[in-house]
Amino acid sequence: MRYKILALLCSALLFSQVRGQSIKQIGSDELEALSSLDNDTTYVVNFWATWCSPCVKEIGYFEELHRNPPAEDLKVILVSLDFPNTIERRVIPFLQEKEITAAVYLMTDLDYNSWIERIDPDWSGAIPATLMYNGRNRLFLEKELSRDELFKHVKQMMN
């Protein structure tokens, strides 16, 4: 009986690990670091929020890119700009519903003016916005992307 409970507990734990998206909360210095990593990988950083309808529309394309990257050295990073007090209530249920497995971060620094320009000087702060970069190229897009646009830009970036 005791073993049964233990087994049940373990499987429940495992289940929540699989089902439960982990969200890393970050501040502006960590975000700036994520936006300027210097290695052989191509990074696709998407700024989004559960309340932003065009973001919700395009997030599936980023998940697809994460699951089927055109090359190995590509990493998709989803940076949520939802308010930190909505993680449990909104962000995690949303990620579970959309079956998001890409890396998810949540920005906790709400003094936007202090960091938006550090991510890209052309960013007014509207979302969706996407930053793509690698050692050779850097592209910032403050707009909603279609699936074709996203994959086309990524391909150009990696060439």
Binding site: C52, F83, D111, Y112, S114, A126, I127, K143
Partner: protein
């Protein structure tokens, strides 16, 4: 020589592209738009005021909602000091069904907006100002014969909780004008909802 001309032309075009929209120091674009009460409102109607707190905002955006009470408060605090709020909804009603004139009227009634709430039907006004999101503030100062943009950006530095705000940008800017100086900062950036444009 030809190449120089071409290069300078390209440079000028690049500058024009980058400069789309109004910045502090620029003349404000005049406009005439329909208010939720059915009447037309023009920027020139405010020629006896010291300025205008122009707010591009909308009904459904969570950031606009988070700031709604603060915008009402701004108007109530500053209308008697010569800086009324003029709110403009820039979203296309087809792309954003919560932003039709009917929905705007309902919202203004429900929340007792003390300020005008105008519809940018043709979407030309927000484009001319270079608003990119809601809410997006353009503080205008009356210079006698025209209005000048003196501050562009956010209302304050904490959208989530008013209690955690440390800098009230708009109030700080108006205070600077009152003492004859220029707002500092004169531009700020903030997260917001994209403006929904007809495709």
């Amino acid at each position: 020589m030809k190449r120089t001309i071409l290069t300078s032309l390209l440079a000028i075009m690049a500058v024009m592209l980058v400069n789309a929209g109004l910045k502090p120091g620029d003349d404000a674009t005049s406009f005439t738009l329909k208010n939720v009460d059915g009447k037309s409102v023009s920027l020139s109607d405010y020629k006896d005021q010291k300025g205008v707190i122009l707010v591009f905002t909308c009904n459904p955006c969570p950031f606009a909602k988070a700031y709604e009470q603060r915008i009402i408060k701004l108007h109530n605090t500053y209308v008697d000091k010569g800086f009324p709020v003029v709110a403009i909804n820039p979203n296309d009603a087809e792309m954003s069904p919560d932003d039709t004139m009917e929905e705007m009227k309902a919202r203004a009634d429900d929340k007792d907006y003390p300020f005008v709430y105008l519809k940018d039907e043709s979407q030309e006004v927000y484009k001319s100002y270079g608003a990119t999101k809601t809410p997006h503030i353009f503080l205008l100062q009356n210079k006698g014969d025209k209005f000048k943009v003196v501050y562009v950006g956010a209302i304050d530095d904490n959208a989530m909780e008013e209690a955690s705000v440390t800098t009230r940008y708009v109030e700080k800017a108006i205070a600077a004008l009152g003492s004859g100086s220029k707002p500092n900062p004169s531009t700020t950036r903030a997260i917001g909802c994209t403006i929904k444009t007809k495709t």
